[in-house]
């Protein structure tokens, strides 16, 4: 990848763009482009990982959670870490779609479809972990409040039930938001497909959308309100996930900073994952004039901002444990940086707070390769962050005789890397069947009068 310095104020649209050219380029990738060797190779790798995931889960269902490294006192292991991490990745997609929409940040237009898909697939990965973490996963429906002959109800005062409602709501709302955003683009695909079978499939999916004035009017109103509802939703979801921890009396978990800091960490991992996906795709599909250096720089700035908030969260957490004078809490914080998991404690600080500080440098912001590497490191750091939070807090309980180290088994690792297989497989399928960029919104951007387009990004 070339790293030519480009102005951060470069235009959001390629020169000489028209409604037709943008529709042709983006829909052409889906309906006309042949499957390339690169795509097949990438898909093969992703699909192999997915098969490994299925294998690891099949073995898990056959033998039970004993094949994982979890024990007492560390009864929450990789499954919970992965769940928190994947849910968090989804958040940036909703943030870009909803919050930046409400803030009239026009640069979001070329990347929002991308990040919304990322949200869907990340939530799909996340949703699996709490289920396979259950000792008896076939009874997962006990979580739902359904009329049953046992006369039982879920405990509505428990954060775990709130969590189930929050994540289910989030998954459904994300799918609906995605589909509504996709509707006009499906109509475009229907009308531009060269083959009849494509027209039939996209035509059915487009529900007969015609782009009538009154339809658009209701559509925009619905989209605006959905964005307004998704904004508090995205904040609520990870806050509620954090309450799974904060409501418990485990030292290191029982703090009020959790909801705030969880949301920031979620957004950070999502912006990082967005960069990880967008940088290669814009390169291989030659979309550099649609997803410009300015988009990457804006994403990077959001990554930087959230990393500072996360850093602030670490600082407050450490300070409060000292200020509280609670011996157990003070011990667990000291142990994080000097105990058995000290390497993880320091690594996460360096990777998710330290490394993103490089984004302050203009040359780094403008280099896709540098941003790609920073994003990967930041996401590793955030995974470690959740790992330390879950495992290090549990491994040294109130009774020293209970203390025990946690080691992930090969099944733990296979499930973690296998979930990338699920994520990437879905992603490879997405770039073949749906337009990667919201075409109808791009067409709207083409016709914006120059004065209306904000020159400064986020």
């Amino acid at each position: 990848m070339r790293t030519t310095p480009t102005s951060e104020l470069e235009p959001l649209l390629p020169p000489g763009v028209t409604d037709d050219s943008i529709s042709e380029r983006i829909s052409g990738i889906v309906v006309k482009r042949k499957m390339g060797l690169g795509w097949i190779g990438g898909f093969a790798i992703a699909f192999s990982l997915l098969m490994m995931f299925n294998y690891a889960i099949a073995v898990l269902f056959a033998y039970g959670v004993g094949i994982w490294g979890i024990q007492i006192p560390v009864a929450w292991g990789f499954a919970i870490v992965n769940f928190v991490w994947w849910v968090g990745i989804g958040h940036a997609g909703t943030f870009i779609s909803a919050v930046l929409y409400l803030c009239h940040q026009e640069w979001r237009t070329s990347i929002n479809r991308f990040t919304e898909s990322m949200t869907l697939f990340a939530v799909a990965c996340a949703g699996i972990f709490p289920l396979i973490h259950l000792g008896r996963p076939w009874l997962f429906y006990y979580l739902f409040p359904y009329p049953n002959t046992m006369g039982l109800w879920p405990q509505f005062r428990s954060p775990l039930i709130w969590d189930m409602f929050a994540v289910t709501t989030y998954a459904i709302v994300s799918v609906v938001f995605y589909f509504v955003g996709l509707l006009p683009d499906l109509a475009t695909l229907r009308d531009r497909s060269p083959h009849r079978w494509q027209r039939v499939i996209y035509g059915l999916l487009a529900l007969g959308w015609r782009g009538a004035g009154r339809q658009w009017s209701r559509y925009k109103m619905a989209y605006l309100i959905m964005a307004g509802l998704a904004t508090p939703l995205v904040v609520s979801v990870h806050s509620i996930v954090s309450l799974d921890f904060a409501v418990g009396i485990v030292p290191g978990w029982h703090t009020t900073i959790m909801p705030f800091y969880f949301v920031a960490a979620a957004l950070q991992s999502g912006f990082a994952m967005g960069l990880i996906l967008i940088i290669p795709v814009r390169h291989f599909y030659h979309l550099k004039d649609i997803i410009t250096g300015r988009h990457l720089a804006n994403m990077a700035k959001l990554l930087l901002a959230t990393s500072l908030i996360v850093g602030h969260g670490y600082f407050t957490d450490t300070f409060m444990s000292w200020y509280s004078a609670d011996p157990y809490d003070k011990f667990i914080v000291a142990d994080k940086f000097s105990g058995a998991y000290a390497i993880g404690g320091w690594m996460l600080m360096i990777l998710d707070v330290g490394v993103p500080q490089l984004i302050w440098i203009r040359a780094v912001r403008q280099s896709p390769v540098a941003l790609f590497v920073i994003a990967i490191l930041a996401n590793v750091g955030l995974w470690l962050d959740h790992f330390i939070l879950v495992v290090q807090s549990l491994h040294s309980d109130y009774l020293p005789s209970e203390w025990r180290m946690f080691y992930g088994t090969k099944w733990d690792w296979m499930t973690l890397f296998g979930s990338f297989g699920l994520f990437l497989t879905l992603f490879f399928v997405f770039i073949r069947i749906f337009p990667m960029v919201a075409m109808s919104e791009m067409r709207g951007l083409v016709h914006k009068k120059p004065g209306e387009t904000k020159e400064q990004g986020a």
């Binding site: 529709s23 409040p145 007969g208 004035g213 339809q215 658009w216 109103m221 109808s440 016709h447």
Partner: protein
């Protein structure tokens, strides 16, 4: 008018979004009411030119969200107080603060599902076919063409007169929309 029964209306193409908004305003001013535009993106000013406000969609969202939130709260109240009361250390059965997260989530879920469904139903979607799609050129309406259709059911509709009104309003091309393909 004998041709009134055979055609759905007249489809006029405009050069761009601004021309379409101006044309729609003129056609509305000329007294036509059964008018619809077809555009590849949400053109600003079209709703005003059509004298249309999507008020109902907003109301559906609000009502659906409130009903769903209330239902969520009632479910928790019913489960915790009436159906399965459980005394845990003397804490109140109706512990409303811990019912708020699920009430909120249910409100968002119901609002989004109800509102989107309402938007689709009001838009008469899903719909298998529509007369305007009988015009070959209409396909471009989802890419780069801007159309205005005056329907033959309009009381003022007169084949030749309406066509000249459309042309005066700036239409580059006017086509008849047949009812059957």
């Amino acid at each position: 008018m004998s041709d009134k029964t055979k055609i759905y209306g007249l489809l006029a193409e405009f050069a761009g979004p601004d021309e379409l908004v101006r044309g729609t305003e003129e056609v509305s001013e000329a007294g036509y009411s059964r008018v619809e535009t077809y555009t590849p993106f949400a053109v600003e000013g079209i709703s005003e030119a059509l004298h249309f406000r999507p008020f109902a969609v907003a109301v559906i969202f609000l009502v659906a969200a409130l009903l769903s939130a209330a239902a969520g709260y009632f479910m928790e109240y019913y489960a915790s107080v009436i159906s399965y009361p459980e005394n845990i250390g003397g804490r109140p059965l109706h512990s409303w603060p811990s019912f708020i997260p699920i009430t909120f989530e249910m409100g968002v879920l119901g609002g989004v599902l109800g509102g989107v469904l309402g938007m689709l139903v009001l838009n008469r979607l899903p719909r298998y076919s529509h007369p305007v799609a009988n015009v070959e050129r209409f396909r471009a309406a989802s890419s780069d063409a801007f159309f205005l259709c005056v329907e033959s059911s309009d009381p003022r509709f007169q084949r030749e007169l309406t066509e000249s009104v459309l042309r005066q309003a700036g239409a580059t091309q006017v086509t008849e929309v047949p009812l059957e393909s």
